[in-house]
């Protein structure tokens, strides 16, 4: 139970961080946050990959989808009809977000391992 609560707390702080990053940092903010998350909370690599992909896809893709709905999909439709991009722009935005976030996660994950950054890991382990 404590683990669950702590995970939620970490996730909450993390999401707020992402929100602030997106508000004040340019497009690479998501990658930085993903790297930071992976760096701080070293998990199994497969978890990092899933988290990274989902995070990026949901944040970028969701944002794009919301904007597209607000726009009655006018711009999306023009991109699709004109085959301006290789695929649906919302999907492409999701993929870009996912790739971006994934790369950040991988970078953070391996950087963490490389640095053997135990004090933070220990810190969080003790807290839990």
């Amino acid at each position: 139970m404590r683990n669950y609560k702590n995970t939620l707390k970490i996730l909450g702080i993390y999401l707020i961080g992402i929100g602030l990053t997106l508000a004040f940092l340019p497009w690479w903010g998501l990658g930085v946050m993903a790297a930071l998350g992976a760096f701080l909370f070293i998990k199994p690599l497969w978890q990092e990959i899933i988290l990274g992909v989902l995070l990026g896809a949901i944040i970028w893709g969701g944002n794009a989808y919301y904007i597209s709905i607000q726009n009655n999909h006018i711009l999306t439709q023009r991109f699709i009809e004109g085959k301006i991009l290789p695929m649906n722009p919302i999907l492409l935005t999701m993929i870009f977000g996912a790739m971006h976030s994934l790369l950040g996660c991988l970078f953070g994950h391996y950087l963490g391992k490389l640095c053997n950054h135990r004090f933070l890991a220990i810190f969080f382990a003790h807290k839990s």
């Binding site: 497009w27 009655n72 006018i74 711009l75 999306t76 023009r78 004109g82």
Partner: protein, 772 residues
């Protein structure tokens, strides 16, 4: 793709305004209110002219910034700066830029700017407009950049007064580039003068000039030039170069007409205009009202230039068609070996050199030195471009290079109260020459061809001329009072549709490229109108009658073998009513047949590189009158019959004539094309009827770019219009193509030409404010 700053930021909520209220705007004297009606048409209300033009610049930039900058970059030969790193395009783009520089596009714009700078009033309005554009650019964050900047990855630069002059140069090039002096020189040399004029005749009996003989100045009242005995042109062994850019469509043009109050149902004039230009996205026009004390104009403007080009004010309305007269001439120069001087009037004169630096994205700058003579730029400079097949040097004399103040002309016209004021404004107008139509609330109507035309000798400028003698130079211009003009004519209407302005009796020599069919159809319809109404004007603007086909097709059919005449295709053509409606198949059959016929008729391997296809009317008269043909040896009738039957059979089998794709609308495939040729940012117009030589001149890529009808009944002018496009230049806006359906379906929106009180009380408008 980043949603917060990337392309998604151009996906606007339907109905959202391009600008909100902006405060602390530098350069503004007083607050300006902008009311957006439900067509996204801005109505700008300012307290003085400076603020009004400032706001016009601001608003036009907010709607069309990328289009404005792209258009002037193309005009200036600067596209390599943004497209030069595209491996598929870079060579073509650089060649395009070099050609624009060789044509002296920036040189011409600088001359115009100098003329404006010498007129404080003209400069003030242009300065205000430029400040407004820049205020908008400065307010932009990256997220707000128009989508094309993001796709091409560059940023908008500051706007300068020169840019508006470049826009005028671009329009001048589009509208005066239909001259074929180089090609005609080659053809005259190859065919002989007699055969040349048989093929490319200028006057035919059926022509109906815009201005009748009674309007011409008398010969003895005008000052003629001391003219040479003959117009010397290069010897026959010199082959002229190919033109730098593809010749514009010979048949782009416009219609305008005005009907006198005695011929209308309301007892007041009606005026209509539809300029036929490229179907571009964003559209070449933007619609608006600009208002301040002493100034209230409504209509369309060119994004990038101040004022209203076609429209009306509280007292008068006006419209334009292209004059089509040749205002570009070429001179063969004799240049010294060291390329520093040229020979003229028995002496060597210095050439000046203009350094043109073309920045190429991702590569080194391309530097070009263009020599200039007193005529203008030496466009074909044999030393710099030796690979071009011409062995000499050709200088260009082009009216568009002259220091002129067309913006000021429109400023004056926008404020004119009557015919006299209108003419005063036209006095500032030089190039590209236009037929200006006029009507007023007082019930007067008029039409005037306005431009700056050199007084030419018979034949002068039809071919490349000898540049070593001032005898062939342009000297004086036709006086303002000698320009053809109609005012309250006895015919009770005036019209123009790019035909010859005058008959050979006009005391000045004129030549150019002219239309032969729309004007005659228009005149017949206008003659037969009694108690004309706005609905009649709509019918004329959408008239799909193909007069050319009605004259040419029976002639071609008469040459068909009797067994061919029984075929289903021939039956279809014989029963055609000559209406080029989108669902008809016969127009597709006829136009394909005619194309195959002329392609075969005029094919000769000796002429492959120098050929210019004669106009449709020239081809018609050749067939009708059995005129001599350079490529037909033997019996004319047999040869023509052979070609006509052969091409008929090819046409019959080339297409499944029962398929939907054979219907005229789909066959001619009118479409709106984005300036960057991005597919999804354009639109298809499969239900557009009409076509070439038809009043509804919707062809595949050009056509009525703006339709306007003005009704002068009542105490104020009522107007309606539409264009194939939308007010916003943003493909992510619901106003990007908001007029297209109306344009296709003969639906016009009414102009709201009201004072500010109306908008303050209206619940259907949204308001933006610009505050100093």
């Amino acid at each position: 793709m980043y949603p917060r700053t990337g392309i998604w930021q151009q996906a606007k909520k339907p109905g959202s305004l391009p600008i909100d209220t902006l405060e602390k705007l530098n350069g503004l004297h007083n607050e300006v209110s902008i009311y957006w009606d439900n067509h996204y048409i801005p109505h700008i209300f300012a307290q003085n002219e400076h603020d009004m033009f400032f706001a016009q610049g601001y608003v036009e930039a907010s709607l069309r910034l990328w289009q404005m900058e792209f258009t002037i970059m193309a005009a200036a030969g600067r596209l390599s700066e943004i497209l030069g790193d595209d491996p598929n395009l870079q060579d073509k783009i650089l060649e395009f830029d070099i050609n624009q520089r060789r044509m002296g596009m920036i040189y011409g714009a600088e001359n115009k700017l100098r003329a404006i700078e010498a007129n404080p009033e003209a400069l003030a309005l242009l300065d205000a407009y430029t400040k407004g554009v820049n205020a908008y650019i400065e307010s932009l964050s990256y997220a707000e950049y128009p989508i094309e900047y993001k796709l091409l990855d560059y940023s908008p630069a500051s706007w300068a007064n020169l840019n508006s002059c470049l826009l005028l140069m671009a329009m001048s090039k589009d509208l005066t580039d239909r001259e074929y002096d180089l090609e005609y020189t080659n053809l005259k040399n190859a065919l002989g003068e007699e055969m040349f004029f048989k093929l490319y005749g200028e006057y035919y009996d059926s022509m109906e000039p815009i201005f009748s003989k009674s309007t011409y100045p008398l010969n003895d009242s005008i000052k003629m030039m001391d003219q040479p005995d003959e117009m010397r042109s290069p010897s026959s062994d010199v082959l002229m170069p190919q033109r730098l850019s593809q010749a514009p469509d010979k048949n782009i043009g416009s219609n305008n007409w005005v009907i006198h109050k005695d011929k209308t149902k309301s007892g007041q004039p009606l005026l209509a205009n539809d300029p036929h230009l490229s179907f571009n996205a964003p559209c070449i026009w933007v619609e608006m009202q600009i208002n301040c004390p002493g100034y209230n104009a409504y209509g369309v403007s060119f994004p990038g230039a101040p004022g209203i080009v076609i429209g009306c004010n509280d007292s008068i309305g006006w419209g334009v068609t292209n004059a089509g007269r040749d205002v570009k001439d070429w001179y063969q120069l004799k240049i010294s070996k060291d390329r520093r001087q040229y020979y003229h009037d028995n002496q060597w004169k210095n050439l000046s050199y203009r350094k043109e630096v073309i920045q190429v994205r991702g590569a080194e700058d391309y530097i070009l030195e263009v020599p200039y003579s007193h005529h203008g730029p030496v466009v074909y400079d044999n030393a710099t471009f030796p690979s071009e097949r011409y062995a000499g040097d050709l200088a260009l004399r082009w009216r568009a290079h002259d220091p002129t103040e067309e913006f000021f002309a429109f400023y004056q016209i926008n404020k004119a109260d009557n015919w006299e004021d209108f003419l005063d404004g036209l006095a500032y107008y030089s190039c590209p020459a236009q037929n200006f139509i006029f009507a007023s609330l007082e019930g007067d109507i008029g039409l005037r061809q306005q431009g700056d035309f050199a007084i030419l000798d018979e034949g002068q400028g039809h071919f490349v001329m000898d540049g070593t003698s001032s005898r062939y130079d342009w000297k004086e211009s036709i006086a303002f009072e000698d320009m053809p003009t109609i005012y309250n004519p006895p015919t009770q209407y005036a019209s123009s549709a790019n035909q010859h302005a005058v008959s050979p009796e006009y005391p000045f020599y004129t030549h150019g490229e002219f239309e032969h069919y729309r004007n005659r159809r228009l005149n017949r319809l206008l003659e037969n109108l009694h108690e004309a109404t706005v609905e009649d004007m709509v019918d004329i603007q959408y008239d799909n009658y193909d007069l050319f086909a009605s004259e040419m097709l029976p002639l071609m059919l008469s040459y068909l073998d009797s067994d061919e005449r029984l075929s289903s295709v021939a039956q279809s053509l014989q029963s055609w009513d000559f209406m080029a409606d989108p669902a008809q198949v016969a127009p597709s059959q006829f136009h394909l047949w005619y194309t195959l016929y002329t392609d075969t008729l005029y094919r000769d391997k000796n002429f492959e590189n120098i050929w210019v296809q004669p106009n449709e009317y020239q081809t018609y008269f050749q067939l009708k009158d059995s005129l001599p043909h350079p490529f037909i040896r033997g019996d004319f009738e047999d040869a023509q019959k052979n070609i006509i039957n052969k091409t008929f059979r090819i046409m019959s089998n080339l297409q499944d004539w029962n398929a939907d794709s054979s219907k005229w609308g789909q066959f001619k495939a009118s479409k709106i094309t984005h300036l960057l040729r991005i597919n999804g940012f354009g639109d298809d117009l499969p239900s557009a009827g009409g076509g070439q030589h038809i009043l509804n001149a919707s062809k595949s890529s050009t056509g009525p770019s703006w339709r306007m009808i003005l009704d002068f009944s009542g105490d104020k002018i009522k107007g309606q219009g539409h264009y194939p496009g939308g007010q916003s230049g943003n493909p992510g806006s619901d106003y990007y193509m908001n007029f297209v359906e109306d344009w296709l379906n003969q639906e016009y929106h009414e102009f709201i030409i009201e004072e500010e009180e109306y908008f303050l009380q209206s619940s259907e408008v949204k308001k933006s404010r610009l505050v100093p």
